[in-house]
Amino acid sequence: MGVIVILIIVSVLVAGGFLLAFLWSVKTGQMDDDYTPSVRILFDDELIIKKKEIL
């Protein structure tokens, strides 16, 4: 049963990793704006470059 102890410690550590990731994301301002990034990701620049080549 000793393996359970190890597994539990590992699982808490993994969860702790996610907690740290969350705290880091808040600290670096990734939670400040929950709308613009979702829009920004949809802009593609390639389209314009192609247009320029045609011109």
């Binding site: 969860a15 907690l19 969350f22 939670m31 802009f43 314009i48």
Partner: protein, 770 residues
Amino acid sequence: MVYTLLEENGMCQYYDLTSMPGITAKGLFVSDKFNYLDNKAIQDQLIQFKLADQVHVVFYLPQIHCVSCVWLLEHLHKINTGIIQSTTHFEKKEIKIVFNPSLISLKQVVQLLAFVGYEPVIHLGGNDWLKKKKVNKKQLYKIGIAGFCFSNIMMLSFPEYLSNNALELGSLRHFFIYINLLLSLPVLLYSARDFFISAYTGLRQKWLNIDAPIALAITVTFSRSVYEILSQTGAGYLDSMSGIVFFMLIGRWFQDKSYDSFAFDRDYNSFFPLGVTVLEEGKEVNKPLSALLKGELVFLRADEMIPADAILLTEGALIDYSFVTGENAPIEVAIGQLVYAGGIQKGRSIQVEVVKPVGQSYITELWNSPVLKNEKNIEKSFVHPWSQYFTIVLLIIAFSSGMYWSLYDTSKILPAVTAVLIVACPCSLLLTVTFTYGNVLRWLGNAKFYCKNAAVIEAIDKIDTIVFDKTGTLTNHEDTHLEYHGMVLSEAEMIAVKSVTRESLHPLSKMITQFLMLEVSDLTSFQKIENFIGKGTKALCNEYEILIGSSSFLKSNGIPCHDSLQGALVCLAINGELKGYFAVNHAYRDGMDKMVKCLQDKGYRLHLLSGDHPIEKAHLTHLLGKEIPMFFETSPADKLAYIQKLQNQGHKVMMVGDGLNDAGALKKSNVGIAVTDQTHLFTPASDAILEGREIKELHHLIDYAKKAKLIISYIFILSILYNIIGMYFATSARLSPMVAAILMPISSISIVALSALLSFLFSYKIRARN
């Protein structure tokens, strides 16, 4: 012209993103307007961070409204290579621009923004709301940590619940429990800190707020759990404790997540320009507003605001005071007369000499009045008295169950008493309140009624008197029309009048010309014309001698005029006889009569305060009914005094107004609602912001805000039910950690769901139109 610019830079994709990108470069693009940005002192106020080759600056752009806006603003670097990067923040309507100062100046950046249609709103109180963000971050940390600890404790508690005490692996069981204890420490010491601090400050002021019983419950739960764990008699209630802290923190966050892009606390500084153009020895110099001194010459271009009370030195002043006094039409001012701060020059460029420092002008003086100095006294929420009763009842139950067990089984005194305190903490009340207010705030926001915080909703509930402003509130600033009253004019007379008014650039003349355009299309020549600035025009046209202008102008020319003819109207006399007058009316918004009627039916006492002249009194009486007390030509100070008078009579007053002239009254009133047509550009300090065309729904909005208390009462009854069940287990000293762990999430989740459902159902009236 914007299209050409985009085309040149291969940015036509902008027009493909949405069918109606719908931004327009507002008015004429005046490049001189931003000259003040060349001043170093002003630049230092705006710039956040500076290096030799890059400068960071943040602007507030209220025009941001769609995906295209974001796209265009984030591709500014394609238009001008000097811009290194631009990042928008949609909800705050902000843009952060990084630019290279050797390629493009701050002024040019602003000019570029203005040119593509996003003129930044630059004012002195610019970056106030950056502070708020940090507090919010701490709250997120607390929620994250509480959530982490709660879910892990819950998971590690499962063996304990499900084993039915058959868990014989003693060492493993202790391992689980000690990890739980370890995990609960951050919740107790960090996440739940606000509750303890708030309870402590409340108790020091000898007042039991809702956080006091919550702090008590957390402490009791934790100490009993520690006792059970150390004495090896049980696993404690650490999962329930961390769960409840987690849910309550989420509730608070949900309620406080309000409108980032709105600034509710503006004082006059926000309305004035950051810099002014001063003439020094004939040369134009840009100066920050704060450095403006008495006696300096200020150069004002069209559409610029007068920064301080001053004397007019050049011709062509046409000042729009609608924002300051609520007056309808622009006023022509003659050389040597006083112009007041806050007026906007509508004609060509003028020069004025400052006679009073910025802080002491007619409009800013109001802010120095002692009445406004003290903060609005926020009444304590009804939740606190409720939680007080709750706490008293709780203590009585705990005490009596302790008494009961002392008679039968003394070993069960402590378990029973602590179990009562654990189960029946007013956490559900706090959850109900925070989630319900959060929901109500959001539905009101959906209906374009933006409240500053939850306290405003409670304040609306207590209102019994509503005071309206007229100009800009009941009427629409952008929609004006002219009316002619008096003797019917013959066609020849109309042609003559039109030919005269056509010669003048005064906006009222222009309106009259347009008004007559519908009637006659011909023009005639006149023999003689004389203009008197600020008064009127005298002309000889065919056989008609036309006098057109203010009533005092006609009087001075020997034509008897009635004294009531004052304000935004133009009197007309032909051949020495008063024919009638043209009155400028701002159109009333639709549905005002119905809204007023509904509010009266509900028992509100309504009042009307207007800074305007009483010419429309008859019309207003007809529109709104006779019972409404109406006051005209009220100064900002009068309005403030009137609100105070009503409050002294014991009324709770809601003020609905716009403009700086209402600012004092808005601040003094119990609930100040600022009405705005341009998406929150110029709103004075207020508790709530309402979009102009939604004012006809005011009665529904007030109604809905009042429903919040009802919803809370309903859910509170439900939570009492849960408490009775929990109490049954607690008083019989049979509260197992498992019962607590089941009851806690069920009650929390059902409360949250019910609150969302009820606030949705009650909002049908304000949703109906959208």
